[in-house]
């Protein structure tokens, strides 16, 4: 929470001044959602203290949006809060967004706390580096913490060039001792260490160029700054390891994302090459995901739509804790019912080609009544090899129901 207050004060001055000079003001809009989540684990946790059968959790994410200048400028404020009855680390707050975006001709500016998404693949998000993962929110890594940023974008006939200055680093969230999806030793998020002497105040930079050429969408990026993914050092007390301390090294990264959108089949590629400093002693690596998304003809008159997904993951580090997908395949299928309730179902499996460890995942959603949505999520780990990084989650098979009320 300390972090958030810092962020709030540092950007609020900017907003007040910008809002003050705005003309053609229209009324702002408030929307958002409140969610009740229940999780059930069918086995006891693998480690002491872990919650037994699951628990309940409440979250709230309102969003206030104000647009002016013919929608060319907008102010957004979206805080987030979650309360969890089991894991006190999962009870947390964040400012997901508090920014101004303004476009003038070929230029676009963004300042504040925001979220940026890069990438094309479905089962892993390799090139998506601007925001820190709010890892305690969900197992898929798609929940992100708000990132303080300044962005300038220039649009031309040769695509879009985005320059980012990221003045403050956000630490990754991790489960506490009672939480599921954790390491055997609890990660102590209160004592992170940094390679940079400026710690979280190290200024990161990023550049991205993206362009569409007919069926091809291309993105190339360069990032220089603190790695969003930490490495872990044991915390030793009286000769015994009692916990893990996250350490955030400095990195240089180039990455590319490509998508070729064929009429029936979409082809995707994401690749990164990450370099550490010589002092860090860490080994540089490359990682990539290549895959496809194939649309089948409609399965019924009512418009039932089926898409087949396949993605292959490679990581040059091999089978290490930080790289669970070093030689793995994801296969899955998405069913869109195209009904009034927008019913959708996604089922997929990760298979490790080296040791045949498997993890099955199902996600389903459906609108019910007015402003309500039901989300179902389940994951099962099977035949997990004892050398596989996923071994620590073996007892974390779960079923999750979430009811969201939108307003």
């Amino acid at each position: 929470m300390k972090t958030n207050i810092f962020l709030l004060t540092s950007v609020s001055t900017l907003f007040i001044s910008t809002l003050g000079v705005s003309t053609g003001v229209s009324a702002g809009e408030l929307s958002g959602n409140i969610s009740l989540e229940g999780r059930y684990f069918n086995s006891d946790g693998a480690f002491p203290d872990q919650q037994k059968n699951g628990g309940i959790s409440l979250s709230l994410q309102p969003e206030y949006k104000h647009k002016w200048d013919n929608d060319h400028s907008q102010f957004t404020f979206s805080p987030f809060y979650r309360w969890d009855n089991q894991d006190k680390e999962r009870t947390h707050a964040d400012i997901r967004q508090l920014d101004i975006v303004s476009s003038k001709g070929d230029w676009e500016f963004q300042a504040g706390i925001g979220k940026v998404y890069w990438g094309v693949t479905e089962s892993q998000h390799l090139v998506d580096i601007i925001n820190q993962t709010d890892a305690i929110e969900g197992a898929d890594g798609e929940d992100k913490l708000g990132q303080p940023l300044f962005r300038v974008s220039h649009l031309s006939e040769n695509g879009s060039l985005d320059l980012f200055v990221l003045p403050y680093f956000r630490e990754r969230t991790f489960a506490g001792s009672k939480g599921r999806f954790r390491t055997p030793l609890v990660i102590d998020t209160d004592k992170p260490t940094f390679e940079s002497s400026k710690k979280e105040k190290h200024i990161d930079y990023a550049v991205r160029w993206s362009e569409t050429v007919d069926e091809l969408d291309i993105g190339v990026h360069y990032f220089n700054g603190t790695s969003r993914a930490p490495i872990f050092n044991p915390i030793i007390k009286n000769g015994i390891a009692v916990g893990l301390q996250p350490h955030y090294p400095l990195i240089d990264q180039i990455g590319i994302d490509l998508q070729y959108t064929g009429e029936e089949t979409i082809w995707k590629f994401e690749g990164i090459s990450r370099n550490y400093t010589r002092q860090s002693g860490l080994k540089d690596y490359t990682a990539s995901v290549v895959g496809f998304e194939h649309s089948l003809p409609l399965l019924s008159d009512s418009g039932l739509e089926m898409t087949l997904l396949g993605e292959y993951h490679h990581d040059s580090r091999g089978e290490v804790a930080s790289a669970p997908f070093q030689n793995d395949v994801f296969v899955g299928s998405r069913l869109s019912f195209n009904d009034t309730e927008s019913t959708e179902l996604l089922a997929g499996a990760f298979v490790d080609l080296d040791n045949s460890s498997k993890s099955l995942r199902v996600e389903a959603s459906r609108r019910i009544g007015k402003g309500l949505k039901l989300n179902i999520e389940a994951q099962v780990f099977m035949d997990i090899d004892k050398t596989d990084p996923l071994k620590i989650f073996e007892k974390d098979d779960y079923l999750q129901l979430e009811l969201q009320k939108y307003f």
Partner: protein
């Protein structure tokens, strides 16, 4: 002399060809000609914005509502560009769709998912699928470029509002359509599409679209206030109510790119 004679013959041939052309215009030629005229009638609108309220009604009469804002930029030498911004249902608020329509070539389409802040390019394989659970398919709502169909004039007859309509049959020339054909009623004076009947791939009548409350904007461009689509096979229907039409608002290509989706 010889030159003169040749000239005379060629002139005569040309005149003969021209007159047969007009006199014996085939139904296909006539259908295409009328459709081109209808398209030309709408030329030069530059851009427009409008609000759309979509009311879905199932067989039991239960209704649900979608609210979408539309921005369209007229294409020059290519199809139109359009941006659809979803306001309701609440759970899809902020979702946006960007479409670059083309003639026979598949449209380019990007979807913006606000929760992830992700822009996702999607393919057009299933354009015959329902748009947001409604009786409108994606292909019904896309820009109706002339090249997308083959035409055949059927007849002239009385239609709604005491108008006279040309009835034209059009067959989708693009891939993956859900229709074998459509019949379009265009009024003879202003080329307003009063009615469209859709036939499924098995050639049986599937849906009827009726447009009413036509209003003229900038003294030239006609737009309906209400579009009612009835599915004869399922008994379900969808009504589109258009409001707040504005033409020539000054939109440019910069308002129709991947970045604009997030705004």
């Amino acid at each position: 002399m010889l030159i003169k004679k040749t000239l005379l013959i060629s002139m005569l041939t040309a005149i003969t060809l021209l007159s047969t052309n007009v006199m014996a215009e085939s139904p296909q030629q006539k259908g295409l000609r009328i459709s081109k005229l209808a398209d030309a009638k709408d030329n030069g609108f530059s851009d427009f914005t409008a609000n759309m309220v979509m009311t879905l009604k199932n067989r039991a009469g239960k209704t649900s509502r979608r609210i979408i804002r539309i921005k369209t930029l007229e294409g020059k030498g290519d199809g139109d560009k359009s941006l659809s911004l979803f306001d309701q249902p609440q759970d899809v608020k902020g979702t946006a769709m960007l479409t670059f329509s083309h003639g026979l070539k598949a449209d380019d389409q990007w979807l913006y998912l606000p929760a992830l802040k992700r822009v996702k390019r999607i393919n057009s394989r299933n354009k015959s699928g329902p748009f947001m659970g409604s009786e409108f398919a994606f292909e019904d709502l896309g820009s109706q470029e002339v090249e997308k169909f083959k035409y055949k004039f059927l007849r002239t007859e009385k239609c709604a509002n005491g108008w006279t309509c040309n009835v034209i049959e059009r067959t989708p020339a693009y891939k993956y359509s859900g229709y074998s054909k459509q019949q379009v009623w265009l009024d003879t004076k202003e080329y307003r599409p009063v009615k469209v009947m859709f036939y499924d791939r098995k050639n049986s009548l599937m849906k009827t679209l009726q447009s009413t409350g036509f209003k003229q904007y900038l003294g030239r461009y006609w737009r309906p206030t209400t579009m009612s689509m009835v599915n004869h096979q399922t008994g379900k229907s969808t009504i589109l109510q258009w409001t707040n039409y504005k033409f020539k608002t000054g939109l440019t290509a910069r308002d129709f790119n991947k970045k604009a989706l997030a705004r």
